[in-house]
Symmetry: C2
Subunit: 127 residues, 2 copies
DNA sequence: GTTTGACTTAGAGCGCCCTCTAAGTTCTAG
DNA sequence: CTAGAACTTAGAGGGCGCTCTAAGTCAAAC
């Protein structure tokens, strides 16, 4: 016996992912979904748990500054099957380097901001 | 005796700050400089060390995601004089919170990416 | 003095990533 | 059965932050 998961509506998926329905449709349109989202007989989208989890991961790629075009490259590799595992890994490794650089830059900027703040603190309350 | 610093040309300032000349003019135009940049008799801009250092700091605000409009607010407070120290400090403190949140989000995304990478590593080279 | 490249301005254009609109269909509650 | 909310599409619109263009002036090297 197979229980067919009816899936979530787009607004439930939006709720679950923190994106808007508009953005979910947009992501699908530009080829960021691994697979076209299922449809109810009414043509309304039905998001599976897998879809939602994938959107979660792609949001992590996006939030670390991966351009949509690169996410799409990654997705296309993934769709091409198991033979592309190494290429996908390398893409993520390259991205990883850029994420580390971001962390470094932000951390350095934070230090400069903190220095400024401490100067103001002196000025405002020279205890 | 006062030695008048001739200042740097815009392209020297660009070199020094890592921004383009276009961007330096743009920043000035939208009100991000503390003071209008000096001019040579020829009307060409001459950037002082202070200008360059200020651009350095504003780049740190920008690179941590502070919108130009907020940088401008900060600049306007600074131009308004010493009485605004506390307001400037508070603006930076609010920004600091958002920078910490960014660091946190990026760090979490990095962890997810690393997890994916390790899965691929298993698949590619199941030593 | 002349050439070559850097500089000036105002304003247009662009790339990215959504975000919204319009017009129509479907679902849900009462 | 009906009202109203949610969904659909294709495509337009918008915000942000640059980035470039055009037409002209100026500087530095020869």
């Amino acid at each position: 016996m197979t229980i067919i998961d009816p899936g979530r509506t787009i607004s439930e998926a939006a709720e679950a992912t923190g994106l808007s329905s508009h953005t979910l449709r947009y992501y699908e349109r530009v080829g960021l979904m691994l697979v076209p989202v299922d449809r109810a007989p009414s043509t309304h989208r039905r998001y599976s748990d897998l879809d939602v989890r994938w959107v979660g991961f792609l949001t992590k790629l996006r939030s670390t500054g991966m351009p949509i075009a690169t996410v799409r490259e990654y997705v296309e590799l993934a769709r091409a099957g198991d033979g592309t595992s190494e290429a996908r890994m390398e893409l993520l490794l390259r991205h990883r380097v850029s994420v580390l650089a971001q962390l470094d830059e932000i951390t350095q900027s934070l230090a400069a901001i903190d220095t400024k703040i401490s100067i103001y603190r002196e000025k405002v309350d020279p205890s």
